[in-house]
């Protein structure tokens, strides 16, 4: 079996004395889309931060077979790109300049961008249908457009592993589908690996190859969507009453009011 894109073993994270993750194992194959679900406070974002290198977890995380702590920051940034849940939108920054930030790992620390960096940025902008937006100020864009720009910045990093923390939480359902279709299309075209966290279970199940249900800092279930999105599991870990209906691309989870 080939080397997985992400290998997490016995990940334990404690923040301010409180255990957030208590021994999490996770493996994501190259080209796979894995979505982490779980109730609020289950540790989804923390898991993503550890995989993205924002939290130090020595020995617990390997990317493409290399322990993450042995990667230099710039090299790590060429391997894994993160789209945060609500990225900061710097005042006055144009879309072009924002996406160009994604080239930071390739620009010498005190230097400036090369023609190749600019070409890469323009290519990503065109690919995401943002060609006409280069000059626009990021702050003036709509939510859906911004999300595509955030994605563009991550893609400009040239990383093949994409971490998406709640990529659609700020979007209406139309834009949710648009962004997720785009991610899936990019994944298929470029062999990207996607590790995401999502709250909307039905949408999560439709796009993921496999799902991980995180509860109280542990993996409660892992497998294809139809094995994770079950009425029993969701009732136990979310304390929610739901009905699961088989759908075209995965189970559809419908909340029903408790009697």
């Amino acid at each position: 079996m080939s080397v997985p894109a992400v290998e997490v073993r016995e990940l334990r994270v404690t923040l301010g004395g409180a255990p957030i993750l208590a021994g999490v194992d996770l493996s994501v194959a190259v080209g796979e889309w894995v979505t982490v679900i779980g109730p609020n406070g289950a540790g989804k974002s923390t898991l993503l931060r550890a995989v993205g290198g924002l939290l130090s977890a020595p020995g617990a995380v390997s990317l493409f077979g290399t322990p993450i702590q042995s990667l230099r920051r710039r090299d790590r940034a060429r391997v894994v790109a993160t789209v945060a849940q609500s990225p900061v939108v710097p005042a006055g920054m144009s879309v072009l300049d924002y996406v160009l930030l994604g080239r930071t790992p390739y620009i010498p620390p005190l230097g400036r961008e090369s023609a190749a960096d600019l070409a890469a940025v323009h290519e990503v902008l065109d690919r995401l249908d943002l060609g006409g937006f280069g000059r626009r100020e990021l702050a003036t864009l709509s939510g859906g457009e911004r999300q595509r720009v955030f994605l563009a910045r991550a893609l400009a990093q040239g990383a093949t592993l994409l971490l998406l923390d709640e990529p659609t939480s700020a979007l209406d359902i139309g834009h949710q589908q648009e962004v997720l279709e785009l991610v899936d299309q990019l994944r298929r075209e470029h062999g990207l690996t996607v590790l995401a966290t999502m709250h909307d279970l039905s949408v999560a199940g439709e796009y993921a190859d496999r799902m991980v249900l995180l509860a109280d800092g542990r993996v409660a279930a892992v497998g294809p969507p139809q094995e994770v999105l079950t009425e029993t599991l969701l009732a136990r870990h979310y304390r929610a009453r739901v009905r699961v209906i088989p759908g075209e691309h995965g189970p559809l989870v419908v909340p029903v009011r408790p009697r």
């Binding site: 931060r49 993160t82 990225p87 072009l96 300049d97 390739y106 005190l110 190749a116 075209e189």
Partner: protein, 392 residues
């Protein structure tokens, strides 16, 4: 706007691959962004950067301030002759300026060092202000408001009052003063930062400024106490404290020049990093930076610059906020634009303010710190108003 998958489906797949940059041509000729305008559409958008016309405008402003600063004064000299005499300072040039020996002496020994000091101090204060604004991601940051200047002020007062610098008296700045000022300014900025951070995660830009105000007040109290205990040095401390560019000639200029060069080099080299820091520490980290390391280095550099400026000319407020914000409004919000232009326009601004300070109430001189505060107060309110709109 919708995504059209078909449009990009036929692109070569390898183009976003991580391995690609390795094969990228290594030529890094800086001007790439300005070539190749797209046909028709008014050119491809260029990345933020210092445009030539703004650089030229900055240099022109410095030259105008230089000539005006040297020409105007109790004895006004014709600007043309002054310009000719300034050009004569370049090696291997001799123009006939028509100035007498005495006038030439006024130019080179009295006014020029003062104007150059104004350019250096103004440039440093504006550069430090722009840098602090980027480092703290706070539009209101300024050497004065963060307590940095007060820290330097307390340290310098201590040096003068406790006699360590007495040898220098009024003949020039003793070498100990900039060093003491640097220690004082670093201590103050650390205190402000810690106090501001105590507000927790949800602190607003105002929290840091409030912390700076508290630190300033605390340090000013310490300074007052010191002066009370050492009243014999009040006169000397106050003449320095209110901000002055009246110098003992080239000595002061040469003393702060190394600090100016060091600060300018460090801060200007990091101007792109400040743009990356503007997206926040997490994202800067995932883009491969060490945000905390960059931040400490830049704070040290800006504090060094502030300390040098304060040691040479006392407390001159608001330059660090007026200039970077005007640049931001006019020329763009990237630190690649703000920092170099702030340095140039900050210098020009202070040199011209000094002209006002020494001519408005001639033959008396108004302390230059008073003039900048008179201009800066109303301007600060303006910044508060626009900042609230843009940053929250």
């Amino acid at each position: 706007m919708t995504v059209r998958p078909a449009e990009s489906a036929d692109r070569p797949a390898g183009t976003l691959d991580a391995s690609r940059p390795a094969g990228v041509p290594t030529s890094r000729s800086g001007r790439v962004g300005r070539s190749a305008p797209a046909p028709g559409s008014g050119g491809t958008p260029r990345p933020a950067g210092l445009r030539t016309r703004w650089l030229v405008a900055g240099v022109v402003a410095v030259l105008v301030a230089l000539v005006a600063g040297v020409s105007l004064g109790p004895v006004s000299l014709p600007p043309g002759s002054v310009a000719a005499e300034l050009i004569n300072l370049l090696p291997g040039v001799h123009l006939e300026s028509g100035l007498t020996e005495r006038e030439i002496a006024i130019v080179t020994e009295l006014r020029l060092p003062r104007v150059v000091l104004g350019l250096l101090v103004g440039g440093l204060l504006a550069l430090a202000g722009g840098c602090y604004q980027g480092v703290f991601r706070n539009p209101l940051a300024d050497p004065y408001l963060l307590g940095v200047a007060a820290g330097a002020g307390l340290a310098v007062t201590a040096v003068i009052a406790l006699g360590a610098g007495a040898g220098g008296a009024l003949t020039g700045i003793p070498v100990t003063i900039p060093l003491a000022a640097f220690v004082g300014s670093l201590g103050a900025v650390a205190l402000t930062y810690l106090l501001g951070a105590a507000g927790g995660r949800d602190r607003s830009p105002a929290t840091l400024i409030l912390a700076g105000v508290a630190v300033s007040a605390f340090l000013a109290a310490g300074q007052t106490y010191l002066l009370q205990r050492h009243s014999e040095s009040i006169q000397q401390v106050y003449s320095w404290l209110l901000g002055r560019l009246a110098t003992a000639g080239w000595h002061d200029v040469l003393l702060i020049l190394p600090y100016f060069v060091l600060t300018a080099v460090v801060v200007l080299l990091h101007r792109r990093e400040l743009d990356v820091l503007s997206v926040g520490d997490d994202e800067a980290t995932s883009l491969g930076l060490h945000p905390q390391r960059s931040r400490y280095l830049l704070i040290a550099a800006a504090s060094l610059g502030t300390a040098a400026a304060v040691s040479a000319s006392g407390l001159i407020g608001f330059v660090g906020i007026i200039v970077p914000h005007t640049v931001r409004l006019l020329a763009g919000s990237s630190y690649r634009v703000i920092l170099p232009l702030s340095m140039l326009f900050g210098g020009a601004f202070l040199a011209l303010t000094d002209v006002v300070a020494r001519t408005a109430a001639a033959p008396a001189e108004i302390p230059i710190g008073v003039v900048t505060a008179l201009l800066g107060g109303p301007f600060f309110v303006l910044v508060l108003r626009t900042a609230r709109r843009v940053f929250t």
